[in-house]
């Protein structure tokens, strides 16, 4: 027999478990792999690689969450990333390499290299915007289903990759571009970042409390907020501690953290973000509230384009070249990350942070299995099964709610 109190507690635990299913899954996967690899999996060196490997799909996932939240899908991201990566390498190797000495004759070779990277990034991001505008307007204004537009885009931009690379690898790219993807922040700077982040966490917690108070809302008891802030700070500090045991914070992870925070903030705290969720939740209701639906859909796809650009640039630095099959099947990994992280394919539901954890799960599986020296084919099999199980969990837990 359950007493009233017990069953209430049980309910709370059940609820909590549901909120943290992905995190629990991640923890289990890590524990499993560290046992199977005799602890190699959790060594700082491996963790450092793992997070860097996860970062490229994570950039795409931050944008994909919003696309899926709309009730749309983007199948073209893999090809777009590949295309922009090829363009990045092409610009550096074939265009700016010759151009820079002429524009900045006085500079050192290193300086010219940095300038060429900056120019490349600007051009590629502009191109990414153009691609986003192209797909976004077809979907939002011409009302062609996103599935079709991006299925077409998948072919179209894969063709672009072949055209730009002419079927050959383009290298070598400048070392400054490589370090964006492979570099580390110096260890003391890492500690400064830790300090600043912890400061900001506590400051915003307190600020939030004060603001709530001034509006006369109930505020949670002090220790709960402090505990929450401490746990988050603890995770950040622990991460930086472990990374500093190896070579320091990875630059792409730092960039990702910044972008993910920004998009997460936009998605929950701006009208644009909330409208994306409203469109996916109930299109008709959103339209009848006088909201410009087309603009919202358009902008989400533009954002997806820009993030594909970022991913493309970092991918180029990561492999230090532009290759023919860059970005292949990224769309599937990205969508899988979002779904594992709790984004509903029906639209209206999903979080950035969930998708980040989702992509970390996917990367952990690949990484863990390669540390174990398992055959590649196993990776595909396990990744596929994990996706199906994750969606099954989602289906079951949704049943309980509605």
């Amino acid at each position: 027999m359950l007493t009233e109190q017990n069953s209430a507690l049980l309910k709370k635990v059940k609820h909590g478990l549901k909120d943290y299913t992905v995190l629990i899954a991640l923890a289990l996967i890590w524990i499993l792999f560290s046992i199977l690899t005799n602890g190699i999996f959790l060594k700082p060196r491996n963790i450092s690689n793992l997070f860097r490997q996860a970062s490229i799909i994570s950039f795409l996932a931050t944008g994909m969450v919003l696309v899926i939240v709309l009730g749309n899908i983007d199948l073209s991201v893999g090809s777009v990333v590949g295309f922009l990566s090829a363009v990045t390498a092409f610009l550096q190797v074939k265009v700016f390499y010759d151009l820079m000495p002429r524009i900045f004759p006085a500079m050192t070779a290193t300086g010219q290299g940095i300038m060429s990277t900056i120019f490349t990034i600007i051009v590629v991001l502009l191109l990414a915007v153009v691609i986003g505008v192209w797909q976004g307007s077809l979907i939002a204004y011409l009302k062609i289903p996103a599935f079709i537009v991006t299925l077409g885009g998948m072919q179209l931009f894969r063709g672009g990759v072949l055209g730009v690379t002419q079927g050959k690898t383009i290298s070598p790219v400048d070392s400054s571009l490589v370090s964006i993807a492979q570099g580390y922040v110096s260890k003391p700077l890492g500690w400064i970042i830790a300090l600043v982040v912890v400061g900001v966490i506590f400051f915003t917690t307190m600020l939030g409390r004060n603001q709530k108070k001034s509006y006369g809302f109930e505020i949670p008891v002090m220790w709960k907020d402090i505990l929450k802030a401490s746990v988050i700070s603890g995770i950040v500090v622990l991460y930086i501690l472990v990374m500093n045991k190896y070579r320091g914070i990875q630059i792409p992870v730092l960039i990702l953290a910044g972008i993910a925070l920004l998009i997460s903030y936009i998605s929950t705290n701006t009208r644009f973000g909330r409208y994306a969720y409203a469109v996916g939740g109930n299109l008709e209701a959103t339209r009848l509230s006088g909201i410009n639906i087309k603009k919202t859909i358009f902008l989400v796809h533009v954002l997806m384009g820009v993030l594909s650009g970022v991913a493309g640039i970092i991918l180029t630095g990561y492999v230090a070249a532009g290759t023919v099959n860059a970005g292949q099947s990224y769309e599937l990994d990205t969508i899988a990350s979002c779904v594992i992280g709790g984004t509903s394919l029906m639209g209206g539901k999903g979080t950035i942070i969930g998708a980040m954890v989702g992509s970390l799960i996917m990367a952990s599986i690949v990484n863990g299995m390669s540390v174990m020296n398992m055959d590649i084919f196993w990776q595909y099999i396990v990744k596929g099964l994990v996706l199906i199980v994750a969606v099954y969990i989602d289906v079951v837990s949704n049943k309980q709610k509605s």
Binding site: L2, T270, R271, Y277, A278, G281, N282, L288, K349
Partner: protein
């Protein structure tokens, strides 16, 4: 002042392919009054309001509309313009985002922002809280809307329209999902607003509400304006006559039926929820249904009526006790399929979610559960399908140019008729009707009552849930009253009165708040 009109409609005509929804409609609404609009299903009430609220922009209709002295002709971004010019509307069908909170839904499209586009959540929830307390609405402002019951959701919808500093507030059948206490709350709100000078247009099929709340009533019939008169100068019978265009001598047709032996019995029935494991949905329910009998089920919203019939139909919860027999044999029903194999049919309450495939044609909707009748091996007899469906569409007077029109294009009441046709076609022995006349006009109600009579005369047995006491009293042979998932009594029609039903319906509840369950 007799000619201080806030809203003037002049010669408004609106056509859809194959249907003239409004033809040459003209009438005026006085500043500060509550103006009722009534008419049969498909009379054009909702269409008229959608023109006002900008859903149908200027170029899609003809006619002149003057709001507060200014011609309005909304073109691009019409909905936005309508909101900005002070028109606020509660649509007939719920338009909320189930995944967002109450506050977010109320302020959707009008969020308080700073730094350009950043939403000020504290301000938003602060205003929500104030709004809800000002009008005495007991809704938790941070709750996700999908977790609320239909009645509460409807109140959120109403709160949403209140927050817009409206000049004209339009309510399209706001009470069809509300229980009596919520209706009273709504009426109190409308009176407060009236004192503040807000004009209100009020559409309903519950005619008594016009006499409780409106100053003037406009009657529409078949897209034409019939009359606009002060409420004080008319009565229910006159309104009905104007709506249907003929004299209606009785609200409920009489029948002559030989009631037979019990066919369907339920004993000590108990059902647990499958969603929330320790929640009991139904307990202590026992009844029998005789051949040719109509058993009414009365009770307040949330009393478990819908849960009871849905679980009997095999589509809700888990039966953990009780015996169900059909024609003396014990049966087990675990799915809709099982129920249909035993010739039991259910017309569900929520037609949009459970009753219709909105994008599909009326024809396909009606024939879906009866496909077996029309299909042989690899073949569907389309002619027979059409002929049979036509018969039902005609006898229920579904207003549509043809049966190939998608169900979503029908007016709310006509959609309900499609759902009823669909189940009638399966030829059930036991037919369960869950609030079959919700959102249906008096004329069509009469048709449905006649149909029910025909059915019982042919030996079918009917269980009918109804939220209108008059209807339960007018149509049933016996009435079972429910409260909080239990049966609190079964009354013979001879001993049943409104008071006795209400007493049983509130038997378990302590105070007013619990009525809303």
């Amino acid at each position: 002042m007799s000619d201080d009109f806030i809203l003037e409609m002049n010669n408004v005509t609106k056509e859809f392919p194959g249907v003239v929804a409004l033809s040459d409609v003209s009438f005026n609404v006085k500043r500060g009054e509550i103006h009722g609009i009534c008419g049969e299903n498909g009379a054009g009430k909702s269409t008229l309001m959608k023109i006002l609220s900008g859903v149908y922009p200027h170029e899609t209709y003809t006619g002149k509309i003057v709001l507060d002295g200014k011609m309005i002709s909304f073109e691009k971004g019409a909905i936005r313009q309508a909101i900005e010019s002070g028109i606020s509307i509660v649509y007939q069908e719920l338009a909320l985002n189930p995944f967002s909170t109450v506050g977010e839904n109320i302020f959707l499209g009008r969020e308080p922002v700073r730094f350009g586009d950043v939403i000020n959540w504290n301000d938003l929830y602060g205003r929500t809280k104030k709004l809800l307390t000002t009008y005495g609405l007991e809704i938790p402002f941070g709750e996700t809307v999908g977790n609320l019951g239909v009645g509460k959701q409807q109140m959120v919808e109403i709160a949403k329209s209140l927050s817009e500093d409206a000049k004209v507030l339009i309510l399209d059948e706001p009470t069809s999902a509300l229980n009596q206490f919520e209706v009273n709350t709504l009426h109190a709100i409308l009176r407060t607003l009236k004192e503040k000078g807000v004009t209100c247009v009020y559409i309903s099929h519950k005619l008594e509400e016009f006499f409780q709340i409106t100053d003037t009533v406009t009657v529409l019939r078949d897209g034409k304006h019939v009359a606009t008169i002060p409420t004080a100068e008319t009565n229910t019978d006159k309104l009905i006559a104007m709506m249907v265009g003929r004299e209606m001598t009785e609200r409920f047709p009489s029948r002559k039926v030989e009631i037979g032996e019990p066919v369907f019995t339920v004993k000590d029935y108990k059902v647990m929820s499958t969603e929330f494991m320790d929640k009991t949905l139904i307990q202590d329910v026992s009844f029998d249904l005789k051949k040719g009998e109509i058993l009414g089920i009365a009770g307040l919203m949330g009393s478990g009526r819908t849960e009871l019939v849905t679980s009997l139909f095999g589509e809700m919860g888990k039966q953990i006790a009780g015996i169900i027999t059909l024609n003396g044999k014990e049966i087990n029903i675990n799915s809709a399929r099982d129920a249909m194999n035993h010739n039991i049919g259910l017309v569900p309450e929520d037609r949009k979610r459970l009753g219709l495939i909105l994008e599909q044609s009326i024809l396909k909707n009606i024939s879906l559960p009866s496909m077996d009748h029309f299909s042989g091996f690899m073949h569907i007899d389309k002619n027979k399908e059409l002929e049979e469906s036509r018969k039902f569409a005609k006898s229920l007077r579904i207003k549509t140019p043809n049966l190939l029109v998608p169900a979503e294009k029908l007016s709310g009441g006509n959609q309900q008729k499609v759902v009823i046709s669909k189940w009638l076609m399966t030829n059930p022995d036991v037919l369960i009707l869950d609030d079959p006349t919700r959102g249906i006009d008096v004329g069509a109600k009469y048709e449905i009552y006649k149909l029910m009579n025909d059915l019982v005369e042919r030996g079918v047995s009917i269980i009918m849930i109804s939220s209108e006491l008059e209807e339960v009293l007018g149509m049933s042979d016996r009435i079972m009253v429910m409260c909080e998932g239990r049966s609190t009594g079964i009354l013979d029609i001879k001993e049943a009165t409104q008071e006795r039903i209400m007493a049983l319906a509130t038997a378990g509840a302590q105070d007013e708040k619990e009525f809303s369950c």
